[in-house]
């Protein structure tokens, strides 16, 4: 059986023999002791604590607010700060050292073939709509493919094409340029350079066109600005990509 709380702080209490359950019997507890109590309480609390709750631990009539102000000042330039949340108080890691709570791990990834193809088409053909990407690829692209590129921040929605259905137009971002070491999008190698590099065969079918990529933030003549509804599931119908093209 648990007994009454035993005095474990003889060195602090003046009269340990006479201590009772009631704190009000210790008027000699000084301000430092009060600060210790609310500090410990705030430290151990699982949630922000109200001044009223703190007052319950202290002699009647204690000026809790002034104690809290003192404590806040004490912690002001520390690794932990006393913060007020909706009138209640809590100790919390100081924002400028919050990095200690973060560990970053880097996961090496590669885009899928479909992702790379889509990205390259956006790069060369921007501004380009989803339907145009699919037309150039010759296969449909899955919703996820463009989403990943958007998430990565390499592709962005530029505007809407002034055609029926007003499809969203896509383009590349500065992050895309940075990642691939391009100063500007026009640094992308053109047809002749790709041929010279052996990436395209010498005798291309007639009608093989490779646009000169252009990327300016300004919308082209056939683009309208985005209208803010783009984050909703688009109305365009998404054909599930042919299994074989994603690898």
């Amino acid at each position: 059986m648990q007994t009454q709380p035993q005095p474990l702080m003889d060195d602090v209490m003046d009269e340990p023999e006479n201590q009772s359950a009631s704190i009000t019997l210790h008027p000699q507890m000084d301000r430092d002791q009060h600060l210790r109590i609310i500090e410990a309480m705030l430290f151990a609390a699982t949630e922000p604590v109200s001044p009223a709750k703190l007052l319950e631990l202290l002699p009647v009539g204690t000026d809790v607010q002034s104690l809290l102000d003192d404590l806040a000042a004490n912690y002001q330039n520390r690794g932990v700060n006393l913060v007020q949340i909706a009138g209640n108080y809590m100790l919390r890691t100081s924002p400028d050292v919050a990095f200690v709570l973060r560990r970053e791990t880097i996961q090496q990834k590669k885009l899928t073939k479909a992702g790379l193809e889509t990205l390259s088409i956006v790069a060369y053909h921007q501004p380009v709509t989803r339907a145009e990407i699919e037309d150039i690829r010759g296969v449909a692209i899955s919703k996820g493919t463009l989403d990943i590129l958007l998430d990565m921040g390499w592709v962005r929605m530029r505007g809407r094409r002034k055609t029926p259905g007003r499809p969203v137009t896509y383009g590349t971002t500065d992050a895309f340029l940075r990642h691939f070491g391009l100063n500007e999008i026009t640094d992308l190698p053109g047809l002749h350079e790709l041929k010279a590099a052996g990436l395209l065969e010498g005798n291309l079918p007639p009608g093989f066109d490779m646009p000169l990529p252009q990327m300016s933030d300004a919308l082209t003549e056939d683009e309208d600005p985005l209208d803010g509804t783009e984050m909703q599931p688009p109305l365009e119908m998404h054909v599930v990509e042919e299994g074989g093209t994603e690898e």
């Binding site: 609390a45 560990r103 970053e104 885009l111």
Partner: protein
């Protein structure tokens, strides 16, 4: 056990009586106390017996007096452990007297994806896809644009009935050469087919001069 007991003066009979009486009472009183008492009484009995029974000298490694010391030691040692347990339990305990941080802030593991794709990967993907698409496209177009020799031959044979007079290929096949993408194919295939038909004696061909238009008509049945 708190009394100093002179073993030599203990009546073994009295002890045994006490012992038995105690066991009888034991069910009614604190059983824990009983356990301690029994252990002690058993020791005392054992020690007394050691005193009463003559010993072969040097055989035993423990003298009765030594044994008595050991008993005292054991009791003291157990008491020390009981005191230690009490001290430990009365000291500050986590979750009772002292507390750890109530709202620890969890470590956030941020997984950053790093894409290893290079510009070369990008260009390869583009070139490959474009090229594959073009091959695919060219094939489809050819299929539509090409007139096979068989097709040309069948068409010419179907037109034979009307070919009484000399007429050029373009004349007879007017409706097939209207589409520019198939024109070359229609001309080439129908020319080849016409050579076959001429050899078989079905039609006659005439060209007035090199690089001049070629005329054809049905061969008059002799």
């Amino acid at each position: 056990r708190n009394h100093k007991i002179d073993l030599h003066r203990i009546s073994i009979l009295a002890l045994a009586d006490q012992y038995i009486a105690f066991i009888e009472r034991a069910q009614k009183v604190s059983l824990e106390l009983a356990a301690d008492y029994l252990v002690m009484a058993a020791w005392l009995t054992y020690l007394k017996s050691r005193l009463l029974i003559p010993q072969a000298p040097k055989e035993g490694d423990t003298e009765p007096l030594d044994m008595a010391q050991r008993l005292a030691f054991r009791l003291q040692r157990l008491q020390a452990m009981r005191d230690a347990a009490e001290k430990l339990m009365n000291g500050p305990q986590l979750g009772r007297d002292v507390f750890e941080r109530g709202a620890p802030e969890p470590l956030v593991i941020e997984t950053q994806k790093e894409y290893g794709d290079t510009l070369l990967d990008l260009l390869k993907a583009y070139a490959e896809r474009r090229q594959r698409k073009m091959v695919h496209q060219t094939y489809t177009v050819k299929k539509q644009a090409t007139w096979s020799i068989k097709e040309a031959r069948e068409t010419l044979q179907r037109l034979l009935g009307a070919m009484d007079e000399w007429g050029t290929f373009d004349h007879w096949l007017e409706k097939y050469i209207s589409a520019p993408e198939t024109r070359r194919s229609v001309r080439a295939s129908s020319f080849t087919a016409s050579l076959e038909l001429a050899r078989e004696g079905v039609i006659e061909l005439r060209q007035d001069e090199a690089f001049q238009p070629i005329f054809l008509r049905r061969r008059a049945v002799a």
